[in-house]
């Protein structure tokens, strides 16, 4: 199932995360301070997920624009 970035962004954060879990692949997960940062790959793009571990709120579920970011995360 192929989703474009634009199609992915039609959905709210909760749905985006569900789509990532059901159709995507978790490629990286790191706990930084009180945030869980995850990177998923779905279709042909990557998505950054920031979840606040205090209140479990999703702070960000956005496609990665700059692929250099992935290098940064992997070195953390």
């Amino acid at each position: 199932m192929k989703l474009t970035r634009g199609e992915f962004c039609q959905f709210n954060y909760t749905t985006r995360l569900k789509l990532l879990k059901e159709f995507g692949r978790n490629v990286l997960e790191k706990k930084i301070k009180m945030r869980l940062i995850s990177i998923y790959r779905i279709s042909d793009f990557y998505v950054e997920v920031y979840q606040n571990l205090d209140n479990q709120q999703l702070e960000k579920v956005e496609p990665v624009k700059n692929m250099g970011v992935l290098d940064i995360y992997s070195k953390l």
Binding site: M1, K2, L3, E7, Q10, F11, N12, T14, T15, K18, L19, E22, F23
Partner: protein
């Protein structure tokens, strides 16, 4: 023919076929149900047929409340609400008042709610306009008004411009004009144009709105009050009916009113609220719990979850290029399949693949608009939705190929533009395989068809041998009036290897009156409208045979293994004709004996069976003279004969006439018009005069003329009977009478008798006396033979309107 039974019989056929095919009237195997899986015929499937859009039926709070209500009040409280209701009702009413901010009445079901509302709120002086696709339960309640002769009509689906026209026409005669619609239509999931309706209600004081928002409840609006009230205030001229058996998840219904007085009146006088049982404790308990949830913020997150799934479903349907009929924001989706056989095939395939979807079929939709209907709930995962749609996209081409239907056929059946990728002829594969064994021949005139070949197939079967058709073509072309100009098409499908015909027929395309088979009083009221608009309620019909032929119009060689393929080729040809002639209906007619296999085959291809008027046939002509004929009659018929026929015989001179003068033709035609205008039981257009002149000069026909010498006056022609005489049978097709003498000299009965004598004199085997006047025809020895037709209607708006007219006298001539 009884119009009401036709609908029931057709529904019976369709549903029974679905049951036989194992896709309708199913039972789950589960002892318990959780989530969105059910087990059918031993197979666990994902259920995409549920209307419980929020999945609340499994919510622990509703279940506990339901159980508690049983513990507290028992399994039922068996008293009419006119007497006593349990306390839970009051609680629930208060909660609904908070949800809707308007007075409400709770009813056991939406159907009973409509039956309570409509007779109480709508008076005989009102006009009622129902949307063509309004839910059947609303239509059922409207039928209750038939005895009060309320003005009822059907409006084409969602046509607000037509509604406004009707309002302007009706407002001077009716204080209130009710428009009945659904908030969300239950088959295609599209919505009523509520904003426009509100504007119309503001503009026209007479317009009131009655809307069934069953599929909108819970999933839209503040406190889940529905799609109609989503972001809108309650209009003071609106009544809202909504269901608690879908998104609300408890069963029951609630009716909502603009003021307390209206609510009070329905609560007090509504039939089901007096005589039907109430909602029982278990449902009431669950409903109180559900209503409480609706009054919290939690309902909005549930709505959001559902919206996201609806959005995702729309996206997936686009991605997988499925022919969705109406893109919308409801949780109901309809993927077109065109014909019932494709619908059955797909539902079966989806079941085998692990998904249960609904079959959208007649009577919920027109026969040629069959499809797969599915619903999305909050319980579906995104994977389940994607996989189901992907499976559907994989299976649909296979089903189409198997059934010989293309994507283009689907889009055309639903009057949608065909996407470019579907313009490639997907039928090519099946056509090629058919072409290797079969070839279709299409002619536009009988003069192009070899006479010998045609008469081998059709001589003796009716009036449509080669000569008979040549006469028809000459009579029904190049006339002034459009109804007297027919298109003729001759189609023969032959086996390539042997050249043998497998299927053959001729078709005429002509303007028919849509009320042709309706009761005479319906036709009478429509004829009043036709004084101003002669083509009111008419449409073009492609019929096997013609309005002037009777008999087995369709030749099929069922010994050939290719007969079904040949019929498919015939359907392809007829469908092309339907496009080019812009015909609304296709009729295959005059079947006397139909085997189950053939009947099933026609239904699968989108035809429904309809009885035609019974055919009167005299099969026994073994007597040799008048006395022997008399002796062959029953005791009653003999008495009738002596009193009504023999007594007047000597007043008549009977003979056949050829080459009549123009004056004679004029007179014969006027006699025919007498008969035509007197009887509306089979309401057709008047035949052209040219036909009578043609018949009089044709060797395959004769005109029997009865002249009367009455009261020593000169002989006058009082009856003519034009009959087809080629072949084994004597077939009277047209009769003309002078009714001035009918009472005194029993002209019609004499004519019938003389027809019998003439048939015997010519050595015929049978007399085919056609439809109508069965009682009279029985007296000359006729027996009734049931006759059937199979029809396919593209746009059933007129048929629906006639159905309403059948039930409630309209006031067209007001």
């Amino acid at each position: 023919m009884k119009q009401g039974n036709v609908v029931i019989d057709t529904v019976d056929q369709i549903i029974s076929d679905g049951v036989k095919k194992g896709i309708l009237h199913l039972y789950t195997d589960d002892n318990t149900l959780h989530g969105n899986h059910i087990t059918l015929k031993g197979k666990k499937v994902v259920n995409f047929g549920s209307c419980s859009y929020l999945g609340l039926e499994f919510d622990a709070r509703l279940k506990e409340a339901s159980k508690a209500a049983i513990d507290n009040y028992g399994t039922q409280f068996s008293e009419s609400r006119a007497y006593v209701s349990i306390k839970l009702y009051r609680q629930l009413e208060e909660l609904f008042f908070r949800i809707f901010e308007a007075p409400c009445v709770i009813t056991p079901t939406t159907t009973l709610g409509h039956m309570a509302n409509i007779p109480v709120l709508m008076s005989p002086d009102d006009a009622i306009i129902t949307d063509q696709q309004v839910h059947n339960s609303v239509g059922t309640a409207v039928k209750l008004l038939k005895t009060s002769r309320t003005h009822i009509e059907v409006l084409r689906h969602n046509k607000m411009d037509l509604l406004e026209d009707r309002i302007k026409l009706l407002r001077s005669k009716h204080k209130k004009i009710w428009y009945l619609a659904d908030g969300i239509y239950s088959m295609f999931g599209d919505t009523a144009p509520i904003d426009e309706l509100y504007e119309l209600m503001d503009l026209y004081p007479q317009l009131h709105l009655y809307v069934d928002d069953a599929h909108g409840m819970s999933i839209h609006g503040r406190h889940g009050r529905g799609s109609v009230l989503d972001k809108r205030k309650f209009h003071p001229k609106m009544v809202l009916a909504t269901s608690l058996a879908k998104g609300f998840a408890t069963g029951g219904a609630v009716m909502v009113y603009p003021n307390k007085e209206m609510a009070r009146k329905v609560r007090t006088c509504g039939g089901p609220l007096i005589t039907s049982g109430p909602l029982q404790p278990a449902q009431l308990g669950a409903a109180v719990a559900a209503a409480s949830i609706h009054l919290t913020e939690e309902i909005y997150s549930m709505q959001d979850e559902l919206y996201e799934r609806i959005k995702f479903t729309n996206l997936m349907l686009k991605k997988y290029h499925l022919p969705v009929i109406a893109e919308n924001n409801s949780a109901i989706f309809f993927v077109g399949a065109h014909l019932p056989k494709v619908g059955y095939n797909m539902v079966r395939r989806m079941l085998e693949a692990g998904y249960y979807v609904n079959l959208g079929i007649f009577p919920a939709v027109p026969m040629k608009n069959t499809g797969i209907r599915f619903t999305i709930t909050r319980l579906h995962t995104f994977s389940q939705i994607e996989q189901m749609i992907r499976t559907m996209s994989e299976q649909l081409p296979k089903a189409l190929k198997e059934e010989g239907v293309s994507y283009e056929d689907i889009y055309k059946a639903f009057k949608l533009p065909v996407p470019e990728e579907n313009l490639i002829d997907q039928k090519v594969a099946s056509v090629i395989s058919q072409a290797l064994s079969l070839k279709s021949y299409h002619y536009k005139s009988i003069h192009q068809v070899d006479k010998k070949d045609w008469d081998i197939l059709f001589k003796g079967k009716g009036t449509f041998d080669w000569d008979g058709l040549a006469l028809l073509e000459d009579s029904f072309m190049n006339n002034e009036l459009p109804e007297n100009n027919w298109e003729f098409d001759y189609i023969i499908i032959k086996e390539v290897r042997t050249g043998r015909p497998i299927v053959a027929s001729f078709f005429t395309t002509a303007l028919w009156k849509d009320d042709m088979l309706s009761p005479a009083d319906i036709s009478e009221s429509i004829e009043v409208k036709r004084i101003r608009d002669p083509y009111y309620f008419t449409s073009r019909v492609i019929s096997s045979g013609s309005l002037l032929t009777e008999g087995e119009h369709l030749f099929i060689d069922k010994t050939s293994p290719f007969w079904k393929d040949a019929m498919q080729l015939l359907f392809d040809e007829i469908n092309s004709l339907q496009e080019s002639y812009n015909a609304n209906s296709i009729v295959l007619r005059d079947f006397h004996h139909i085997d189950d296999e053939f009947e099933s085959f026609l239904i699968d291809n989108g035809f429904f069976k309809t009885p035609m008027p019974d055919n009167n046939v005299v099969s026994d002509l073994r007597w040799n003279n008048a006395e022997e004929f008399y002796q062959s009659l029953s005791k009653c018929s003999k008495a009738h004969f002596r009193k009504n026929v023999r007594r007047y015989q000597n007043y008549y001179e009977v003979g056949t006439e050829r080459n009549p003068s123009e004056i004679e033709i004029e007179h014969w035609y006027s006699l025919y018009e007498n008969v035509k205008n007197k009887s509306l039981n089979l309401n057709t257009f008047t035949l052209p005069k040219k036909l009578f002149a043609n018949i009089a000069c044709n060797d395959s026909w004769e005109t029997l003329v009865l002249k009367l010498t009455a009261d020593n006056s000169a002989k006058i022609t009082v009856a003519v009977v034009c009959s087809h005489i080629a072949g084994e049978n004597y077939i009277p097709m047209i009769i003309g009478l002078d009714y001035t003498y009918n009472e005194t000299y029993k002209v019609y009965r004499q004519a019938l008798y003389q027809v019998m004598m003439r048939a015997q004199a010519l050595g015929k085997q049978k007399v085919l006396l056609g439809f109508s006047a069965s009682i009279e025809k029985k007296k000359v020895g006729a027996a009734l033979f049931p006759t059937y037709a199979f029809m396919q209607i593209k746009d059933n708006y007129n048929a629906q309107t006639l159905s309403i007219m059948n039930l409630a006298t309209t006031t067209l001539n007001k």
